[in-house]
């Protein structure tokens, strides 16, 4: 009785007409997510689940799959892809981080989005941004990014490599990609009047050259409530729209700092004495924005996708090779 009920349910789930319905629902869900900019994952889960159940039931009950191994492999591949994507969404991590030149990544991200089952080892990942080079073509057209990074490999040996477009830094499965988001980072040293240890910090000015005319940022002195507004000023054309050029620091610049009603123009080494402590301008550096990505399923997805499409190609090849293309009548 129970067995026959299961078989009836399986056969209903295996309906090929249900596959068509599931495809329509999936298409509608994608359209909904696209038009209303809804989070795709949760909109797609019900239709993907229905499609996966339908595929599993079809493979289990339809005798056609036993005759056509290519088609069987294709559908098994589709089921595996859906499962892998689901696992990937549960364990993935996406994030963003910005590092000034010479700064070490300490495992903290500025923005992070992770699956419910992501087991974090990011806090053990370390590397240092050693600075970047980016060539620009006329018209301020960005060329290849070459960002030198220093890190310890699996055997504890120090390595230096250039990462950039198409070349991420991969550490413990976390992939660090450079991004178009980069700019200037004035460095300051804060000596608290209370006698604590000096603090070195960088202020990441808005991305350059896209925000060429708004190179200012407000920030807070460590351990105080004081707000500091700083502006980078220089008279040179760094990235010439008329010729080839390269992202670089200006040869001469002024760091305009405003604290309360007071305004200061600083050069590297200059200091401002305040009641709360001493602020020293250390100099200008660059910063790079990184996109961080973790998904252990991507290599498996690639392998399964290739097997799946190969199985489909094999199925059609066998089917079509049986009769010539230029035959005028059906057999």
């Amino acid at each position: 009785m129970f067995q026959s009920s299961v078989m009836i349910l399986l056969r209903r789930l295996a309906s090929l007409k249900l596959t068509l319905v599931a495809l329509i629902i999936l298409g509608a869900a994608i359209w909904y997510a696209y038009i209303y900019e809804a989070p795709a994952t949760w909109v797609l889960v019900p239709s993907l689940l229905l499609l996966a159940l339908n595929l599993i039931a079809s493979v289990a009950t339809h005798p056609a799959f036993r005759r056509m191994s290519g088609l069987l492999l294709f559908h098994l591949g589709l089921i595996t892809i859906v499962l892998l994507v689901a696992l990937g969404r549960l364990t993935y991590l996406k994030g963003k981080v910005e590092l000034a030149q010479g700064e070490e990544f300490g495992g903290q991200l500025m923005e992070v989005e992770a699956g419910a089952w992501h087991w974090g080892r990011l806090d053990q990942v370390r590397f240092i941004n050693e600075g970047f080079r980016i060539a620009y073509a006329p018209g301020v057209q960005r060329g290849q990014t070459r960002n030198a990074v220093r890190y310890l490999d699996g055997s504890g040996k120090e390595q230096v490599m250039d990462i950039g477009d198409h070349t991420p830094l991969v550490l413990s499965g976390y992939r660090f990609y450079t991004s178009p988001n980069k700019g200037f980072a004035p460095a300051f040293i804060w000596h608290p009047a209370t006698g604590g240890a000096p603090v070195l910090g960088t202020v990441h000015l808005p991305s350059y050259p896209i925000n060429e005319y708004s190179q200012a940022r407000e920030w807070q002195l460590p351990g105080t409530a004081m707000r500091v507004w700083s502006l980078l000023q220089f008279d040179e054309v760094l990235i010439d729209p008329a010729s080839d050029s390269e992202f670089r620091l200006p040869n001469r610049h002024r760091m305009v700092v405003r604290i309360g009603e007071r305004r200061y123009e600083m050069q590297p080494g200059d200091a401002i004495d305040l009641a709360e402590g001493r602020l020293v301008y250390d100099g200008l550096r660059t910063w790079m924005g990184y996109t961080v990505f973790y998904d252990w399923t991507i290599h498996w997805l690639l392998v399964v996708s290739m097997l799946t499409v190969s199985a489909l190609g094999w199925h059609f090849w066998r089917k079509f090779a049986a009769r010539p293309w230029n035959e005028t009548r059906l057999a």
């Binding site: 596959t19 997510a33 696209y34 996109t291 499409v309 059609f316 009548r329």
Partner: protein, 269 residues
């Protein structure tokens, strides 16, 4: 410039090939060798034009609207010329396919042939693989559209008399299914290659950007049409309507979305 002159000459050859095909179907004539010759001549001139531009700019035809339209006209012509050459029974379907190409050619003529900058995310072999698979996919769907157009045209007395020499509808529907199946395999490969490229270029293999969304919708519509043909035992006419629907979605994906949104496939400064 010689490259532009070659391109215009190629377009003239294509237009002659298409016009002769349409007139031949109307008058029930068969100047098939002339049409094939003009297609091959046009393709030779077009290939020279694309190669010269590639050599001059140092990158392939996939940056500006002009380049994308030109390379797609070339790949669609290659796909149809191959079908025209290898499957003689469907040759009159040129009268359906060529007007579609005329439309894209008209768009190409009105487009500025200026140069564009190759974004840093385009320096990868996966771009060529992705685009190559996409072109085979679209070529397959274009040939299927021609065959399906014949089936649908036969619903009218004029169409039935003009396309009477072609194989019966069921055989044409089977040929159309084959082309769609090839298209499906290559659309899948295009998505896989695109995902590899996106992972390298932007640090994610899929992000539902407009182009990815439309490409996946095209895949779904194509999967639906292949599945429906098998499941619902569709008539050649109903199957042909689905082929037209797939072509429209694929056309919008190829020629509409990249020019509405440049979010994913261009580099920021």
């Amino acid at each position: 410039m010689i490259e532009l002159k070659c391109l215009w000459a190629a377009l003239v050859a294509y237009v002659f090939a298409g016009s002769i095909s349409i007139v031949a179907v109307t008058l029930k004539k068969r100047p098939e060798r002339t049409v094939l010759g003009l297609m091959v001549l046009g393709l030779l001139l077009h290939t020279i034009s694309i190669a010269m531009r590639w050599e001059r700019l140092g990158h392939g035809p996939f940056i500006t609207l002009f380049e994308i339209l030109s390379s797609n006209v070339w790949s669609m012509m290659v796909a149809f010329a191959l079908a025209y050459w290898r499957i003689p029974p469907i040759r009159p379907s040129a009268a359906v396919v060529m007007p579609v190409l005329f439309m894209v050619m008209g768009w190409l003529i009105m487009t500025n042939p200026g140069e564009g900058h190759l974004p840093p995310t385009y320096h990868t072999i996966w771009l060529y693989i992705h685009i190559g698979f996409g072109k085979v996919f679209f070529g397959g769907v274009l040939v299927a559209l021609g065959i399906s157009g014949v089936i649908l045209a036969r619903r009218t007395a004029f169409g039935a008399s003009r396309f009477e020499r072609l194989p019966e509808d069921k055989r044409l529907a089977e040929l159309s299914f084959r082309c769609m199946a090839i298209g499906f395999v290559f659309e899948t490969l295009m998505l896989i290659a695109g995902a590899i490229w996106a992972q390298d270029a932007w640090g994610r293999y899929w992000a539902w950007d407009p182009l990815e969304t439309w490409a996946f919708l095209t895949w779904l519509v194509l999967a639906f049409s292949l599945h429906a043909r098998f499941t619902l035992k569709l008539s050649p006419r109903a199957g042909s309507i689905l082929v037209v629907a797939v072509f429209i979605v694929a056309f919008l994906t190829f020629f509409g979305v990249p020019f509405i949104s440049t979010s994913a496939h261009k580099g920021a400064v």
